[in-house]
């Protein structure tokens, strides 16, 4: 603000336009970090926020005070991500917390999740919207059970990019051999997973090596820093632009003199691109029509693409309502009353075999019954257990579901939007499971 008075209005306007121009050149990367305090997860996030100057002075003062209260001489970066009262008391993360920072290249949203097995559901939640996962490994311990667990969840939720950060390199003397051994071990387990883009970075979150600044302690490592990877990993192909899917979310009917006959079908494009003039089919009715306009508020568009929120009008006067899906006539999703899916169970109350649940898929909701539990997965070893079919909180399982109406879906692997469901308990209204259709 000191410089503020020295600049003329024109200079300020110019600077702000420049800032806004740069700002609008940033895309958005959502990433998840799973881990426990012991892995240095909080310190790593604190380090990222601190070194990218996302922490304001008053927050920093609060962290300094808190560090001093705990009798620590240095700024405790882990305290930056402190959350709820209970978490501070117990020194753990219970729930998903979202953090924000940006660099001149990108804006980042961190889904900061707890790493213990009893919080699998929170990890799944954080992973559901992420483009990228940071897997933390303590260099002293190497690849452990939870490494596999965290990596499996990333792969199950179809996170396209994984950065394996081997942390606490300072405590193993910045030894290249330690890094190479862990890298090799990880590559061995990665063969069981469905992730194509995996990178490795040796870091010390505490000392700052290779997080934002390149480390001078590891001259043998000639790869990029963690932040460089976060800024530069290509995420343009993460969104499915091949299969146009438009779940109708809301029907706009102004009923004003000016817009007397207007019916706009509003929603967020789940995947693909729609053009004015496209021949489309309405599901579930199967009726076909043509897109006559696409608009974003008062702005007419020639086409729209995922993940834009728009409204469309169509040529024919047919019944279209919330829960319907608009798709191109030549590229329709699968249709079935019976689907198989992997689920993560979220609730204290175990899955009820042949129990009735409400299934929510895109903008539609219907009754569903779990007709079979195929197997339960041991998330620490990835072994399938075909005998134990009691699905409890944090369990991962493969099940069969029958729905009261036909479901129009794509396999989750192909489409994260139209392949995902949640199950809701009819009596408590709680979200009891997340499902990924196979």
């Amino acid at each position: 603000m000191e410089q503020h008075t020295k600049l003329t209005k024109e200079e300020i306007k110019q600077k702000v336009d420049e800032l806004l121009n740069n700002y609008l050149e940033m895309d958005l990367l959502r990433f998840t970090t799973a881990g426990s305090v012991d892995d240095g997860k909080s310190t790593l996030i604190g380090r990222l926020l601190y070194d990218t100057k996302a922490i304001f002075q008053d927050q920093l003062d609060a962290v300094e005070r808190a560090s001093r209260r705990r009798g620590e001489d240095q700024l405790n970066l882990a305290l930056i991500t402190d959350g709820l009262k209970a978490e501070r008391e117990q020194g753990i993360t219970i729930d998903v917390a979202y953090r924000y920072f940006h660099t001149p290249k990108r804006k980042f949203i961190i889904a900061d999740t707890p790493g213990h097995v009893q919080y699998t559901r929170n990890m799944v939640t954080g992973a559901s919207t992420a483009n990228l996962a940071i897997i933390l490994i303590d260099a002293r311990n190497g690849v452990v059970e939870q490494t596999l667990r965290h990596s499996y969840i990333a792969s199950l939720l179809q996170i396209k990019h994984i950065i394996v950060t081997i942390n606490k390199m300072d405590l193993v003397g910045y030894d290249q051999e330690v890094f190479e051994k862990i890298k090799q071990d990880y590559q061995n387990i990665a063969q069981k997973l469905d992730v194509k883009d995996i990178r490795f970075v040796p870091i010390s979150a505490l000392k700052g090596d290779n997080v934002v600044e390149k480390s001078e302690n590891m001259p043998w490592y000639d790869g990029p820093t963690l932040l460089w990877l976060l800024e530069n990993i290509n995420i343009t192909s993460d969104i499915n632009l091949n299969d146009p899917r438009f779940p109708v979310q809301y029907v706009i009917r102004p009923m004003s003199d000016e817009w007397h006959d207007y019916r706009g079908y509003a929603g967020r494009i789940a995947s693909g691109v729609f053009h004015v003039g496209d021949q489309v089919m309405i599901l579930p009715s199967g009726l076909t029509t043509k897109i006559t306009s696409i608009h974003f508020a008062d702005r007419q568009l020639d086409y729209a693409f995922a993940p834009q929120s728009v409204a469309m009008t169509v040529a024919d006067d047919i019944d279209i309502s919330r829960g319907n899906m608009i798709v191109p006539v030549n590229n329709v999703p699968q249709q079935s009353n019976e689907v198989e899916m992997k689920i993560c169970w979220f609730n204290q109350r175990p899955l009820q075999p042949r129990g009735r649940y409400i299934l929510r898929h895109t903008t539609t909701e219907m009754l569903a019954m779990v007709t079979d539990v195929d197997y339960k997965l041991d998330i620490n070893t990835l072994e399938k257990n075909y005998d134990d079919k009691e699905i409890k909180m944090n369990d991962i399982a493969r099940i069969k579901v029958r729905t009261a109406q036909p479901l129009f879906f794509d396999p989750y692997k192909k489409n994260r939007q139209t392949g995902a469901v949640i199950l809701i308990d009819e009596s408590t209204n709680e979200t009891v499971a997340a499902g990924m259709i196979e």
């Binding site: 121009n21 559901s128 919207t129 809301y250 967020r268």
Partner: protein, 311 residues
């Protein structure tokens, strides 16, 4: 302004920049609220976040009008400028306005007013708000809160469940995956919905600039009677009790956030345009909540208030 600002695909074909992606996400959440609930309302404080929220709601339902009312909780200690702007906006866009009065809540004996120098009606707002929610059978209250504002807010969901007493249980929140929002509830329960969850302060300001959104005059520099309390500049009003060593003086100030008079710290500033404000925000090193007296009570004051039904 450059063309880039108006271009939905400045990053390349079929790619949205982060601000347009956040806009699309917020519009999705607003429409989902209108679709899943019978009787939503938009919590309108007159501050920039609720103004941006209303702007997004207008975009979401264009060319129809916003299909729910604005709900303002008036502490009775508001800046006149806030009330004038609220009334102007309501008239301009033809929306319904509901006003809950904290003064009325106190008169009815449902809450006792704090006394002393640090007295605010901040906590009582929650009682008035829950009263209004019950009285008007509101089942979803859209708010402009953001996760980057405060550590308790960092754990909020887009669709945040409130029990029959209006309480938030942060340790037992519904998991929220992909964009599948579960707004199912029992009679008497309601939801708070936060479409701007993923926006930061700078996002909001640049969006205001980008979209040329109108704001109350309080955000821009003006000469005002103020006094300094514990390092924070507060506006003087007849109901504000001054300590013996505090003296009223005139300064050029503006609001960085808008609450009511007792809770709003003012910034000494000569910024008179949105550009100048953005410049100020981009170069400043304190959080906007750092300017709020209501958060200074204790380390967990936001969490405590939210549990009881606060915004």
């Amino acid at each position: 302004m450059s063309e880039k600002l108006d271009n939905l695909e400045n990053l390349g074909k079929y790619r949205l920049n982060h601000l347009r992606e956040l806009e699309a996400e917020a519009i999705f959440v607003i429409r989902e609220t209108a679709a899943q609930f019978d009787n939503p309302a938009l919590l309108f404080s007159g501050g920039k976040d609720s103004i941006v929220l209303f702007h997004l709601a207008r975009k979401a339902f264009y060319p129809a009008k916003v299909p729910f009312p604005l709900l303002h909780i008036d502490t009775g200690h508001n800046f006149q400028e806030t009330l004038d702007f609220r009334d102007y906006l309501v008239k301009k866009h033809g929306v319904q306005l509901l006003v809950g009065s904290v003064e009325e809540t106190i008169r009815q004996g449902k809450a006792k007013e704090d006394t002393g120098y640090y007295a605010t009606r901040n906590a009582i707002q929650s009682i008035t708000l829950l009263d209004m929610i019950e009285q008007h059978k509101i089942d979803a209250a859209l708010g402009g809160a953001r996760r980057d504002e405060e550590k308790a807010r960092a754990k909020e969901r887009f669709f945040s469940h409130r029990d029959i007493f209006g309480q938030w249980d942060p340790k037992n929140q519904r998991p929220e995956l992909w964009n599948l929002f579960n707004g199912r509830k029992h009679m008497g329960e309601h939801f708070r919905v936060f479409p701007l969850s993923n926006w930061t302060e700078l996002d909001v300001w640049l969006y205001i600039y980008l979209e040329q959104i109108e704001l109350p005059s309080l955000y821009f520099t003006h000469r005002r009677k103020v006094f300094n309390r514990d390092g924070v500049w507060l506006a003087y009003a007849p109901f504000m009790r001054l300590k013996p060593d505090e003296k009223v003086e005139e300064r050029d100030v503006r609001c960085r956030t808008i609450g009511d008079i007792p809770t709003t710290g003012l910034t000494l500033s000569t910024a008179s345009t949105v550009e100048e404000i953005v410049y100020e925000i981009a170069t400043t090193r304190t959080t906007e909540r750092g300017m709020r007296f209501d958060d200074k009570v204790s380390e967990t004051s936001m969490e405590d208030r939210k549990r009881e039904g606060y915004f």
